[in-house]
Amino acid sequence: MSTVDQYKAAFINTFRVPSEEVEALAYQSIEQWDSLGHMQLMSELEDIFKVELDIDDIIDFSSFAKGQEILGKYGVALNG
């Protein structure tokens, strides 16, 4: 599975959304992405990509797109 597919899978597994919807997701754009869902997503991503996110990055992780940018700072290249 490519890294971008793993990234998408984290959203799908955490929020139980169809794959075609993940790229448009943003914090609180769906009921599942609330404060509890946010921390579950962060845990899932840390497990998948073996990184430890800084608190400021956890706060800034406001959308699917923004998350790609943040993971890039940790050397995670999300390639298809």
Binding site: Y27, Q28, E31, D34, S35, L36, G37, H38, M39, M42, S43, E46, E52, L53, I55, I58, I59, S62
Partner: protein, 244 residues
Amino acid sequence: MDVVHATWERRNLGLEVYEASITPSDTQETVRAGIAALPEADYVSIKVPVAQFALSGVIEQNGFRFREQLTSVEVTQVPTLNGLQARYQKAIASRPATDQDMKTVLEEVRSGLFQTDRFSLDARFSPEQAANRYCGWIQDELARGGELHAILFKDKLAGFFLVRKTDTDRWSSLLAGVFTDFQQMGLGYFINYLAYAYCFGQGAQSVASTYSSNNLAACKIHGDLRTRLLYQSYIYARHTIAKE
């Protein structure tokens, strides 16, 4: 049917309010008679234990409408944090609220911090009335020995929790809130966590809490904690009961 004159709501809402509760011995006949005997009031609520849902029909027939389901649970041990949560929690602290913290909490509440209770969701009540209920409740609980604690996130005042010791080794977690400017930072779980951790740190063997079905966040958080279900009830309410 037990009926209580909620005199405190005259201060909070500026209205005459009665709170009725269905008891185990109630039947359709006693409920019908109880409703007929209600005093003149601006607002009346009836609490129906889920086991007595069969009585909801007669309540609805008398003009009462469903408002929410309340769930009461008990937390019996300090919730366990995973690695990420434990790291995140290091940036969060709590302290007994100072007078200034208390002032800020009340200001936040008055600015509309809580939106999921049946008064905030009822267009017949103003936002000011709904907020007044919380402010009055907080002050009443403090007068009863409750403790208000401020939550700090990265050293900034970010929210609060309100707890009260109810028995030798039992506490209640009554209310918690994340301030508006801190609401997209994943803090919801932690304010509840800190409230429970504080109570267990004070010797609690169990901590009870009640939340509304209209508050999805609270439902999820308590689903994620190790809780024991105590009881559930449905709340029906009706505006203006006038004597003919």
